[in-house]
Amino acid sequence: LPKSAAGGERYRLNDGALRPRTKEATKIAGKFAERVASGVTGTLSTEAAAALRVEGVPKEVVDSLRVAREQGYDANIVVIGRKTDTTAFKGKPNHEVLDVPNHEWSEDLNNTWASVAIARRAPVRLASQLAGNMWDVIDNRPTVFAVEHQQLMNAGYKRVGDYLLPPSK
């Protein structure tokens, strides 16, 4: 895997990650990756790590983020879940929410974004409970949240409380 997901098309996806089905989603995901990556620089400072701990982020998660940054990945704590729940994390330091205008969002882009998180070895915050939010009982299909969660699990992520951590290298 390359060190950065910036550029979109240039990164390779981990096993289990979904590839965009359309050129449009690939293009938008590429622009998105560049935009979010541009806000991240260098390693996680001691102060930033302490601030995350004060906010209740578990030590394993902070360590995971620190390791990803030390390995050169443009990683933040990626927040997934129902949009009604992820909104609360917008603008939180060292957190990242998929925040694209409604006219750009597609399921294809969403899957690509999860793949970007995997490629960047980003720890993930579950903003919504899994129970009751993963399965559309009417249509017998997984919800959008369930699909992004499953991508991460397929890539080897492990659950720690309300977080998912990437597999060890």
Binding site: T22, A25, I28, K83, T84, H103, S106, E107, D108, V144
Partner: protein, 174 residues
């Protein structure tokens, strides 16, 4: 049973958890008829009443309304009825994304595709629905027709055209 301006809605019956597997029933189902009645009412009443009607619904009803919208896209293709499309679009706005607006956005692709198939004015229908109530979903509806062809395609939202025993359907793939 909830009374709304002389209009009875069995809001409990419309919860997704009370209708497991209903999305796969032949179209139109009894549940479709119930939701269609609410959607038509939602279109007919004034802005203030629409807001009140929408507030009766919670995230527990969202996936019922989203499934209805998808089913109406299929039904519109079978019948050539743009009214069915408007009912589907209205159901999305009625919900307003209370569970997750992304679920609402995905189903806009089959609704748009259906409008093209039956030679309905997609732009006008989407705008009419978007004007019903201001919320995140209506904003997404308003801009949907002006997306690039690819980003409003069925493929982009993971839908395919298929058939069941009664004819054409839009099917979600995952």
């Amino acid at each position: 049973m909830n009374q709304y301006d002389g209009f009875d809605i069995d809001i409990e019956k419309l919860k997704a958890s009370n209708n497991p597997g209903a999305g796969k029933l032949p179209i139109p189902s009894a549940l479709d008829e119930m939701v269609a009645r609410v959607a038509r009412r939602f279109v007919e009443i004034g802005p203030e009443e629409r807001s009140k009607l929408s507030s009766l619904f919670t995230d527990q009803h969202s996936l019922t309304l989203v499934a209805f919208a998808r089913r109406m896209a299929s039904y519109a293709v079978r019948t050539g009825s743009s009214e069915k499309l408007l009912e589907g679009l209205a159901a999305l706005v009625l919900d307003g994304g209370k569970f997750d607006s992304r679920e609402n956005i995905t189903v806009m692709a089959p609704l748009y595709d259906a409008a093209l198939k039956i030679d309905a004015n997609a732009q006008a229908l989407f705008s009419q629905a978007a004007d019903l109530l201001k919320n995140e979903v209506s904003e997404a509806l308003r801009t949907f027709p002006s997306r690039s062809e690819e980003s409003k395609s069925l493929a982009c939202m993971h839908y395919v055209e298929s058939e069941d025993a009664d004819g054409f359907i839009y099917e979600k793939i995952w």
